[in-house]
Amino acid sequence: MLKRYGAPLALTVAVVFLGGATLAADDPAAREQAGIDRLQSANAMSVRDGVYRQVRDALVTGTGSIKVKLEAWEAATQQWIVGWTAVLTLADLRDDIPYATFEAALSTQLDSQTARLASLIELATQLKAQGTEARGRLGTVPGPPGSSYPQVETYYPVIDGPGGMTARETELAATLDAMAMMPDAKTATMHDIDTRARLAIVARLRAALVARGRYPLEQTIAAVQQLLDVENVVDPVLAQAARLENDLDRYALNFQIFHLLDGIAVGRQQCAAGRATLAGATGATRYVTAARARLEQLCTAMENHYQSLTTLGVGNSDLVAAYIENDKPALRTVCQTAAAPAVSCEKLATVAALQPADYAGMDDAHLKFVEYGWSDNLDAAKRKGVAP
């Protein structure tokens, strides 16, 4: 009996019909898809831009950038060339000095040249690795064209236009190839120069001895040739041992117990191999004797670094905790205050959040994982350097 009526049916039908017409005019499903596509395009572009900026930063920003390292390599290369000029000048025997003084000066300069070349090659290798990593991070170049990003047609010039993303990526890839790979491409030439320079030393020395007769000709030539031959064998051994001793010293000071354990094993192998190499070296007796003494000194220092940490009576978990605790300020420097933080900062922050109880509960395998995880990422961040 009691009835309630809504709006008249005709009105309802009219509203539904009008609503249907509106829906047909701008399909909500299509509009929603367009909005989602636009967001996805924006996010994809953001990711692409992030990759571009990371790679560009690796190239030109920060104290550890490819640019800065390349400049260091260029400067060192100039010094290396100038160094050879100095060695050749010494071989001209223009100074009236005793042979022993001449031999000592020649030995020192050759050591320097060897160290410079080793440093140049290491730097070139680092640059190549850094460039390869950056190039890999950049991915396929050029990236997708604007048409791959739906619903952002207005912004296609940002991608495809002059000075757009595609052009910048191509430019960045070419620059990476040019700057990061250039030193490595010259490594063979530098080795060749190194070899030729030693021949040139003997040639110029012979000419100088003929002209000036300052020392006995054949005896001097033989002695210098022996020195050159031995130096070529000895210097790499000493350089390698010196580098490792330096590393072990740093590990001990930083409480990097697992780096130290791994390092001392390598050091003992290198010492044994070095001793064997030097034992087989003939000629340039004074030089070889000094080299043996130096190697023993370095090997003893390695053992001392090892003993200094392992005889402390402190457990590995405490050492790892101390290492990370001491290094935490670097996290702020390289991550928090940097304008363009290194990408590994999140991993570092995770490790930094570990508490003493966490370390105490870890076995050696986990502790080693944490120590290496921290140092590898922090070193990577440090290599990138602080952005200006």
Binding site: P8, D49, R56, E171
Partner: protein
């Protein structure tokens, strides 16, 4: 007359040349006196009339009219000064009466200085120096402007710079956020109720309230109607009340009309039209229709009466201001149906009767519509309806009246009474708001209401998504465009160019060093 005018002008020029101010700049004035001449006054005769000038005659000197005699006196005075120095205004040749004595010497000395400067080979103004400057300019021009052969030779040189204007930087267009338009609201609620049969007793109640509102205008229409039927003898409208109101729109005047009908006849009708309407009243009308008929039972006359009594009306209150309406209307009816049949034998009358409450009904219709403005307009509409009804209750009774000479006795006796139908109920209750934060609707919702809310929420969600995606796309692409056009991006190519040059210089140095070593070692 012309002669006089020219003479005066010449005299004035002489005075200027001899002014002390100018003489100070070079030196004192140098005068050239000659042998004095005899002064002869100028004639006072007017050459045009041949008669002497009178005191009122004038002559024009240098375009200025002045008394002729005064002009001639001044001319004579000047002539007197000149003749004393051996000159006369009558002499047509140009004479040098005086000159600045030192100027020629100064000028002569400056000429000497200039001459010296020009002939000094070391002087910047010497012909040699000027020629050198010109030659240098020509040589510079030759170095800057290559000849055709040089240009042609460099056509295919990839390292040759070709100037291009800077590439215009891309500026991301700022998105314009969409807005959800505030749609007009159209809401109507109706209610109907009936009881009984038309061939006996029947009542019907109809009520409706409609509001059409937008952010610029509002219209409302309220209707209440009570219909009834009595024993098939009568059927019709017991009460009808209509109220219509509007405000806003193209006019700033609010309008309202009220119409009340009772038993099919209009009993009240009024219209208002003014800026703001605030009105309320209770319009009440009594109704008493009845129908009688007579008959006899043998010699006894009888009479019957059927009818109903009651009152109908409407209470109402309206407040109409621009874009806001607040109203209630209560159409009501209180009617009682009666029927009596009686016999009359003169000294006594008796009969039976019945009363039935046909309907006591109050329909309360209340509605409001308002537009509130904060950041954006919000429409609020509310409709409520209530009803209180009582009907078809009644009683059957007998009555008698006797005249016994000394007075009259009368009385009645209720034979039977019964209760009818009584109910208070909510007819409808509805409230909706349409604003920037969405649509809400509560109360008695129709399918249309639900569809409206759902559609609006969907539209808002889509608009929010569209705006958010547009903004996100703008932020991303704008930031990318700025970065790509910034210094850091430009550094990439400039560093490549710089290090390419350095690498080339290193190659050159190595090649030179290698050549030297080859020379020393004799090749190989």
């Amino acid at each position: 007359m012309k002669i006089i005018a020219c003479t005066l002008l010449a005299a004035a020029m002489l005075a200027v040349v001899a002014s002390p101010a100018d003489a100070d700049r070079c030196s004192d004035l140098k005068v050239h006196p000659k042998v004095p001449l005899t002064f002869v006054a100028f004639s006072r005769m007017n050459p045009q009339t041949g008669a002497p000038y009178g005191p009122n005659d004038t002559m024009t000197v240098s375009g200025t009219a002045m008394p002729a005699l005064q002009a001639l006196d001044e001319l004579d005075a000047l002539e007197r000064q000149l003749t004393a120095l051996g000159y006369t205004l009558r002499d047509t040749d140009e004479k040098t009466l005086a000159e600045l004595g030192k100027c020629p010497e100064l000028l002569a000395s400056q000429v000497a200085i200039v001459d010296q400067i020009l002939h000094d080979p070391a002087s910047p103004l010497s012909p040699g120096s000027i020629a050198d400057k010109v030659r240098l300019k020509l040589e510079l021009a030759e170095t800057l402007i290559p000849n055709w052969d040089a240009l042609y030779a460099q056509i295919k040189d990839p390292d040759r710079d070709v100037y291009l204007p800077p590439v215009p930087t891309f500026t991301a267009p700022t998105p314009r956020p969409k807005r959800t338009e505030l749609k007009p609201l159209q809401k109507e609620r109706s209610w109907a109720w009936e009881m009984g049969e038309k061939n006996s007793l029947w009542v019907q109640l109809l009520a409706s309230f409609r509001i059409d509102g937008s952010k610029t205008e509002v219209k409302s229409a309220a209707k209440g109607q009570i219909n009834g039927s009595v024993l098939g003898l009568w059927e019709g409208e017991i009460l009808g009340a209509d109220a219509n109101a509007s405000a806003g729109g193209s006019t700033t005047v609010a309008a309202m009309s009220l119409n009340v009908r009772a038993i099919g006849k209009t009993v009240f009708s009024k219209s208002w039209s003014q800026k703001v309407i605030r009105d309320g009243d209770d319009k009440r009308y009594d109704v008493h229709p009845e129908w009688s008929y007579r008959f006899s039972i043998g010699p006894i006359p009888c009479k019957g009466t059927v009818g109903f009594v009651g009152s109908v009306g409407v209470k109402y209150s309206y407040e109409l201001v621009p874009i806001a309406l607040n109203a209630f209307a209560v159409p009501y009816a209180a009617t009682k149906l009666f029927a009596q049949v009686g016999a009359d034998i003169g000294v006594a009358r008796a009969g039976i009767g019945g009363e039935v409450t046909l309907i006591n009904d109050f329909v309360t219709l209340q509605g409001s519509f308002a537009v509130s403005f904060e950041d954006e307009p919000t429409l609020v509409l509310e409709l409520t309806g209530k009803n209180s009804v009582e009907c078809l209750s009644g009683r059957l009774y007998a009555y008698a009246e006797i005249d016994y000479g000394l007075g009259t006795w009368s009385g009645d006796f209720t034979i039977f009474e019964w209760t009818g139908y009584k109910k208070d109920s909510d007819l409808f209750k509805f409230r909706t708001t349409w604003g920037p934060n969405g649509v809400t609707a509560e109360g008695d919702l129709t399918a249309e209401d639900v569809m409206e809310v759902t559609a609006d929420n969907e539209e808002r969600r889509l608009v929010d998504l569209e705006n958010a995606s547009q903004l996100r796309a703008f932020e991303v692409f704008d930031a990318v465009a700025r970065d790509l056009n910034g210094e850091a991006a430009a550094l990439v190519s400039s560093e490549r160019d710089r290090h390419t040059v350095i690498a080339q210089s290193i190659d050159d140095a190595i090649a030179q060093f290698r050549a030297e070593m080859t020379r020393v070692t004799g090749g190989g």
